[in-house]
């Protein structure tokens, strides 16, 4: 089974029916897979804070949400994480491509990578880092944990996890 199908199977198995995305090259396959599933309503958003607003509404409407985005989006969602998701105590699994880590070809991506874990730690957001493909085995537990504690939870997935960039 592909890693993308494996991830989306776990989302579905945990009752996630509402997924918003902003693309990253590393996330192309998983976004395509989300889009293919009948059990998931996929709504692309134009900015990640907007996406978190959609997720907050879906949660209050009775649907389990998730957001799929790049780590650079931590820079545009801090206010939303603090004043909406955390302040009103809502669960939000965040599947995040961790650009700027080992095997990264684009230097600019490193500039947010060096802040990513520090910002998440400052926000007291539980953070998991997938570096090897076998790390995906924890995804099911992380999703259960997220809905148990009603918090935003970050799953950082680096280039090594996704098998590099293919052409690099």
């Amino acid at each position: 089974m592909s890693i993308d199908a494996r991830i989306v199977d776990d989302l579905v198995a945990n009752g996630i029916e509402f997924v918003t995305t902003v693309p990253c090259k590393q996330l192309a396959g998983v976004i395509e897979e989300v889009d293919r599933r009948d059990g998931i309503f996929h709504i692309p958003s134009n900015k990640e804070d907007e996406g978190m607003g959609l997720c907050a509404g879906a949660w209050m409407g009775g649907k389990r949400p998730a957001i799929i985005m790049q780590n650079t989006a931590i820079g545009v969602t801090i206010n939303t994480l603090a004043t909406l998701i955390q302040y009103y105590r809502m669960p939000l699994p965040m599947l995040i491509s961790y650009r700027g880590e080992l095997r990264e070809p684009v230097a600019c991506q490193v500039e947010m990578a060096v802040h990513t874990k520090a910002l998440l730690a400052q926000l007291n957001i539980p953070t998991y880092h997938f570096h090897r493909q076998s790390d995906v085995e924890e995804l099911d537990m992380i999703l259960k944990y997220t809905f148990m504690c009603s918090k935003p939870v970050a799953i950082l997935t680096d280039a090594n996890f996704w098998g590099g960039y293919g052409d690099q």
Partner: protein, 184 residues
């Protein structure tokens, strides 16, 4: 009319609906005029009322009325294409367009100048965009509720705020009672 006068007039219509209300004085005014468990008050996160309401409308069948502001829509303009391409028939985005950032002291926004929010919504793919003057808000809102079509309602009104107390209710309580009203 200013925002609070409009809210007072439409309070009987809002009472039976799920309402997501914009940050700052709009929420304070609605809370003081007619607090309901079916009101979701935003205490922060400027700009996301329309997005929260859209997620809610997509997740369940009851009508959702978002009370938004011109400044907040301008700060989250990406919301308009998302609404234009996805909004279901139970979604009503009512933008109180007072041409200002009311909550922070009535500083002018661009909608009081050359910018036309209704035109931007149409260009973003919203098919049913209605512009009304403040005095016509009630009937226009009732029509939107009865119509069962996704609606963007731009309400043109004067700038100004009523003096109301801040909301001290715990956010988790606001959210919890709202979710119970959604399920009821």
């Amino acid at each position: 009319m200013i925002r609070s006068e409009i809210l007072r007039e439409i309070a009987p219509i809002l009472r039976d609906q799920l309402v997501v209300c914009n940050i700052g004085i709009p929420s304070q005014e609605l809370h003081a005029i007619d607090d309901q468990p079916s009101n979701f008050y935003m205490l922060g996160t400027m700009g996301l009322a329309s997005s929260i309401g859209l997620g809610l409308a997509l997740a369940q069948p009851k009508t959702v009325i978002v009370i938004d502001g011109d400044g907040s829509v301008l700060t989250n303009l990406g919301t308009l294409p998302t609404i234009g391409n996805n909004a279901p028939g139970n979604y009503i985005l009512m933008i109180i367009d007072n041409g200002s950032y009311g909550s922070t002291g009535d500083q002018p926004t661009y909608t009081g100048k050359k910018t036309d929010l209704a035109g931007m919504a149409r260009a973003a793919g919203c098919d049913n965009v209605v512009v009304v003057q403040d005095v016509d808000t009630g009937p226009a809102l009732q029509k939107a509720i009865a119509g069962g079509r996704a609606t963007v309602l731009v309400v043109k009104c004067d700038s100004g705020n009523a003096k109301m107390p801040v909301i001290t209710m715990d956010p988790v309580i606001i959210r919890d009672r709202f979710m119970k009203a959604v399920r009821a």
